[in-house]
Every structure is written in C-alpha cells, then in structure tokens.
C-alpha cells in the first residue's frame, strides 16, 4: 500500500520540481489502522511498550481532546480536518535496534543524505577531521530512527534519547517534567499530541554542564496520510547550557498532512537553552494544493533566577502554520528572546508569533519578527507581552517588520500588550514596506537577476534574525528564503 502511495508521490515529483525536498522514500512502512479512538491510543502505547502511567496519561489527554474545540481565533482560513482520515502511527518496518547511522535502512539513510543537514555529522562518522560535531536524533514519520553521539554525550551526563526510550529508561525524570510547561489541556492540539505522540526527543543537561555539541532533531514526514505528532522535552538543570536545532521536511503530496508537535523546555536557575528551527515542511503547490498543516505548541518555562531561553525560527514551509513559541519568565532576571522570519508565498498562511509572560522581577524579553508575504499568501504576527503585577522592572522590546511582495498578499500585525506594573518598560515598533523598485534596479544593474536581487534584499531584511542562527542553519535558511521566493516578482 505504501508503495503505490510512493509511486504517486514520485509522479507528483516529476511534475513539479520546485520543492527541493519533495522526494519520498521507498521505505517499507508499518501503519496503525486509520482513524483515532481509544484503541488507537492503546495501540500506540503498546507498540512503544510504555508503562501503565504513560498509557493513563495518554487516555486522559484523549478524553480532554474530545471535549475541546479547534481554535479559530487565528487569522487562518482553516479547512475542516477529518481526524478519522489519517494514520496516527507509521513506522519504518525494518526497525531493529540501531546503534549508529550505518545500521539504518539504506533508503532512510539516503533520505537524510538528500536532506543535507546531517552531512556534517556524517563527516564526523567518516573520520573527517575538523568537522563540527552535531548530535542528531532523526525522527522519520513517527519514530526516532537514530540518535548519534550518545556515548560521547553520556560522558558528561547529557541524556539525548528518543522520548519513547526515555520513558522506559528514565521514567522518573520524564514523569517529573512531562506536561509541566505545556499542560495536556493547554489547547486543542497539545491535547491531541499528548494522546497520540509516537516519538520525539528527550534532552536532559545536568547541573553545571555545558553541552559539548549542538543537539539536533531532524523531522521528516514520509508516509502519506500520516499525522506526525512528535514530543520534545528539554530540561536544563542549574547552570546548564544547550543549543538545540530542529529541522523539518516532508515529501510533496497532493493531500494535506497534519503535524501537531509539542515542545516543552524547562529551564532551571542560571541555565540557558537556545532553540533554533528551520521549518520547511512542504508548503503545497503554486495553486495551494497539498501541504502540511503545522499546528505546533512550543513553550519554555524560565523557572529559575537568571535562566534564559532564546527561540529562533525560520518558517518557510507548511500550507498553514499556527505556532507561538513562548516564554514564561518566572525566575528573577530571567530572559526570553524570540527571533522569527516567516515567509509565505503562493497560498500559504502563517499565523505565528510569541508570548512573553513576565512574572519574575527584572525579567527581560526581546522580540524581533520579520514577516515576508508574496503571492496570494497571508502572513500574521500575533504576539502577547504580559507583565504581571509583581513583576518589577520588566523590560520588553518588540520590533515587527513586514515586507510585501506583490499586491495579492496580506501582512498583518496583531500585538497584544497587557501591563500591570508601573515600573515596566514595554516598547513596540512596527513597519510595513515593500521591496522598492529602486533597490531592485540597483541590484540588477550590478548584475543580479530578478530572483537573485529579491533573495538578496529579503535576506537583508531578515538579517537581524538570521544572524542569531548557528552557522550551518543560517546558510541553509538564506538559501531557503531565496528558493521559496523564486518567481515571486514579475
């Protein structure tokens, strides 16, 4: 069955080559029956060999989800989603225990090679000296297929595992933090995710440890009609530091696919977590057909004093993006940052932004958002800055800029500011502009073609954010911005 699907996808690929990551791999898949009910939840839990408490947790989440309604406040034209018409579990069939990348199904391996991202790390495996070390957890459809560098990380006490392994190996640790930052009933999609998540990543950085390498998860939806619901839990203990990268791609398919992930970050005293995302799920074709529905809940709790979280995201993919990586700044002098580039083209819709909830004294936050709209797309920044009554001397600075390319698209800015403490200083600035003809001509006179000129100017527009990304990601992000806009002018 998956094979015919794959053939169809390959045909689609032959028709359209614009989405560079739109290949699908001929991997033998194992599916749970289509649809969603209590039995499916039990099936997933059983497949993963989970302990009883985890199953209970899932069932409770499923019950909550049934009582909830899909939110409609975002500026998105949401289609009816038939939750019974999707597979909630798909795993590559040939899945023994994998210790290194070499042991992975060669088809999956090929997929990752095509994705390009883990190249650095393959170099390390191949013994290329001087290559930078990045530990990778690769999630293929619903299942984590490879976590690399585990031993090296274990030497310093860093736990970097797929979450299903973590539930079995470190149940107490997972139990202590799972759902602490994003409660099951937080929202419709977090409840759904809590019920059916099939894998994801768990990271624990012990007290005082600076993670010796960047950690990375690569998400890939391969099987057709499959929802992907991964769960990421990161805990940085006192004084710890980690930089975490997340990349996403999906094959090109005519039907829509659902992605509803939850990322929770718990940050203790004086710890710091940097979380970078380059989201390049398949955005649909130029007529708005197909593409991923991306409903993601990401939240960090800066629990301890002087803790810090920095979200950086480059969002170029997905047909629909609904995503607000947020910071609860509970610790005194805690710091939250949000840097975002969201680009929409053709019929894409993005409603994204952040929430900075200031509870702790002297907490600070910075929000820089760059929205780029082209084609017939709609791009919305939605953000909340909230200062509680007890939060003395809070500082927030927000800057949101929108760039419009063409006159069929929309750019929207919806900032919410709620301040209950007089010592707070909250500033918000925003501008909307278009690429000026003079800028375009100037760049073209110097020899750049129209697409190159647009890419150059857009990268300039997004620079403040791009430079917050780790090097490899920044380069990929720059390329992505250019590719996503090809043909947008003219």
């Amino acid at each position: 069955m998956s094979e015919t699907k794959n053939e169809a996808a390959l045909e689609a690929l032959a028709r359209n080559d614009r989405y560079e990551w739109g290949f699908s791999s001929a991997v033998d898949q194992e599916f749970a029956p289509k649809g969603l009910n209590e039995d499916i939840v039990r099936f997933i839990s059983a497949k993963k060999g989970e302990p009883e408490w985890m199953l209970e947790w899932r069932l409770e989440a499923y019950k909550r989800w049934l009582e909830m309604e899909m939110p409609h406040w975002a500026k998105l034209k949401l289609p009816e989603i038939d939750y019974q018409d999707a597979y909630y579990y798909a795993a590559p069939k040939a899945k023994p225990k994998i210790e290194s990348l070499d042991e992975i199904d060669p088809e999956i391996r090929k997929t990752y090679e095509k994705l390009g991202i883990p190249i650095e790390e393959q170099k390390v495996l191949a013994g290329v000296s001087g290559a930078r070390e990045v530990a990778v957890d690769a999630v293929f459809d619903s299942v984590s297929v490879a976590t690399t560098f585990r031993e090296k990380l274990q030497e310093v006490g860093v736990i970097f595992l797929s979450i299903s392994e973590a539930i079995k190996t470190y149940p107490e640790l997972v139990k202590r933090y799972l759902g602490r930052v994003v409660p099951v009933r937080d929202n419709y999609f977090s409840a759904l995710n809590s019920a059916v998540f099939s894998d994801g990543t768990f990271v624990y950085i012990p007290e005082g440890v600076r993670c010796p390498m960047e950690l990375s998860t690569y998400f890939r939806i391969n099987a057709a009609n499959t929802g992907q619901f991964e769960r990421t839990l990161i805990v940085a203990d006192k004084g710890a530091y980690v930089s975490y990268l997340e990349g996403c791609t999906a094959p090109q398919r005519d039907e829509n696919q659902l992605h509803a992930a939850v990322v929770e970050i718990f940050v203790h005293e004086e710890a710091e977590v940097r979380y970078s995302t380059v989201q390049n799920w398949y955005p649909g074709d130029e007529n708005g057909k197909g593409g991923i529905y991306n409903f993601v809940t990401k939240r960090a709790l800066c629990d301890g004093a002087r803790s810090k979280v920095s979200w950086t995201q480059v969002e170029t993919g997905s047909a629909i993006t609904w995503k607000y990586p947020s910071c609860i700044l509970k610790g005194e002098e805690s710091v939250g940052e949000f840097y975002s580039v969201a680009l929409t083209n053709n019929y894409q819709q993005a409603d994204t932004g952040t929430k900075m909830i200031h509870i702790g004294k002297n907490s600070r936050s910075t929000i820089i958002s760059k929205g780029i709209s082209a084609g017939h797309s709609d791009n919305t920044y939605r953000g909340l800055v909230k200062v509680g009554g007890a939060a003395e001397n809070v500082r927030n600075f927000t800057r949101c800029d929108s760039l419009l390319i063409g006159d069929k698209c929309g750019a929207h800015t919806v900032p919410y500011i709620e301040v209950r403490n007089p010592s707070a200083k909250v500033e918000h600035e925003a501008t909307t502009s278009k690429i000026s003809d003079d800028e375009l001509f100037y760049a073209r006179q110097r020899g750049l073609n129209e697409d190159e000129a647009v890419a150059l100017i857009v990268n300039g527009f997004a620079r403040d954010v791009l430079q917050k990304l780790p090097m490899e990601f920044a380069i990929e992000a720059q390329k992505l911005l250019g590719i996503s806009l090809e043909g947008a002018v003219g």
């Binding site: 073209r444 110097r446 020899g447 000129a453 100017i457 527009f461």
Partner: protein, 250 residues
C-alpha cells in the same frame, strides 16, 4: 571591430512624457566622452535608458553595445555584458553588507559570462585593495550598502564597485556632485586607473568642468531637450564653463 556604444535616433519617454528626442551618439573603445547640459535636458534619462531601468520606455531608435542589441537585454544582462552605471543617487539597501552585495554581483556577472566564481577569501582581498585605493575605511565594507553613508562616501562606494566589477563601459551620472576637492581627486584617479584603457570606455555625465580637469575627455557633447546639439573636444567644456549654455538652449 564594432563600436563600444552606438546610439541611433534614440527616443524614450517616462510617464508618457517624451524626454529623449532622437539622440545619436557613438563611443569607441578606449574613449572618454562627457555629456553636459542644463537641468532637465535628459542626461540621467539617457543613463537609465541605457541601463534598462523599468519605467523608461524606448519608443524609437536603437542602442548597440559591443555589437549587441542593448535594449533587448535585461538590466542584469547588461551589467554582465560590461555596462556599469554609477548612480547619481546610490540606493540604500538595509541589512545587506557592502561586501556581500558586491561579491554577489561580481559572481553573478562571472556566472553569466561562464567564468569561475570568486571565493570569499579572494574576493575580500580584491575589495580591500580597491577600498584602500579609494581611501575607504575597510570597516565600511561590512556596513549595509550605502546606509548612513555621506554623499561623498556613497560616490566613493560607487567607484569601488566599479573597480571591483571591472566593466567595459562606465556611465557615471554626476559622480562628481557632493565631493570635496580631495575626494574629487581620489575619485578621478580611480576612473583613470580603472577605465583609461584601450578596451574600455567612459561616459561622464556632469554639470561642471572641474571633474574634466582630472578626467580628460576625448569628446564633449551638449545635450539639450533630448538631443545632442553640439559635439567637440575637451575645449568645448571650457567654452561652456565660460559662456554657459545660453545660445545652445535657445
């Protein structure tokens, strides 16, 4: 061998207004030409039409650049073919560093011409050398293109781009305006050094003789109401400086 630039009976309009009204001009390889003329004569329009700025419509005539139909080419193709426009008002591009912009331009042109792209290292070497020659602080290479530059800095920056891109034909639109005497000397030296060669040509658009003291033109043309009304040698510029455009405009 064909001429560097051959313009025949060129007519062009902007916003439905006829600006160039049958302009003829030939520039040979190795020649430096100056175009002078009162405000509104069509000098900048000529530079924009030749470089292909959108909004400038050619209604009649032809322009050939090294034998090729210039008017049929896209702006970036003209640049790759070797046409450089020194802008009267260089454009500011926020967030894009000078160095990055210039390297992107140089490599795009090399790619179009089927040449090997320059590595970042090679490129920085070239750009730094040219910056130094123009008295540009290397720090300026890292700043966004023209953002926050003074008028003089912008013009020097244009000259640095020219030096790096090594064009065949440079059209310099009032490159001398906004320059003090020292800067004028530096800019002039750079024009002479980069462009005064048997296989390169320059078209200077200027109001003043003072640039022509430093960059000696082989030919001077007077543009009035969209046509060249008089041509001569370097002495013509001196005459105009003395006597003004009076009779020519009438």
């Amino acid at each position: 061998m064909s001429k560097m630039l051959e313009i025949r009976n060129l007519r062009a309009e902007v916003d439905n207004k006829q600006i160039l009204k049958g302009l003829n001009l030939e520039i040979g390889a190795g020649e430096i030409h100056a175009i002078m003329g009162p405000n509104g004569a069509g000098k900048s329009t000529l530079s924009y039409v030749l470089s292909g700025k959108p909004g400038y419509t050619v209604t009649d005539g032809s322009a050939r650049f090294m034998g090729k139909d210039l008017l049929a080419m896209e702006p970036h193709e003209r640049a790759a073919a070797g046409l450089f426009l020194g802008f009267q008002y260089p454009v500011e591009i926020a967030g894009v560093s000078n160095l990055h912009f210039l390297r992107a331009a140089a490599n795009a042109q090399r790619k179009t011409r089927g040449e090997e792209e320059l590595s970042a290292g090679e490129f920085i070497k070239i750009a730094s050398k040219e910056a130094k020659a123009l008295g540009i602080n290397p720090e300026m290479l890292k700043r966004p293109v023209n953002v926050g530059f003074s008028g003089g800095e912008k013009k020097r920056n244009e000259m640095m781009q020219m030096a790096v891109l090594q064009p065949k034909l440079a059209i310099l639109d009032e490159t001398d305006s906004g320059l003090d005497i020292d800067a004028l000397r530096i800019v002039s030296e750079s024009i002479n050094r980069v462009m005064r060669r048997p296989d390169r040509s320059v078209l200077l658009i200027t109001h003043y003789q003072r640039l022509l003291d430093h960059v000696k033109p082989d030919f001077v043309h007077v543009l009035v109401k969209g046509q060249i009304v008089r041509s001569g040698g370097a002495e013509l510029a001196l005459e105009l400086e003395r006597e003004g455009y009076g009779e020519l405009v009438a």
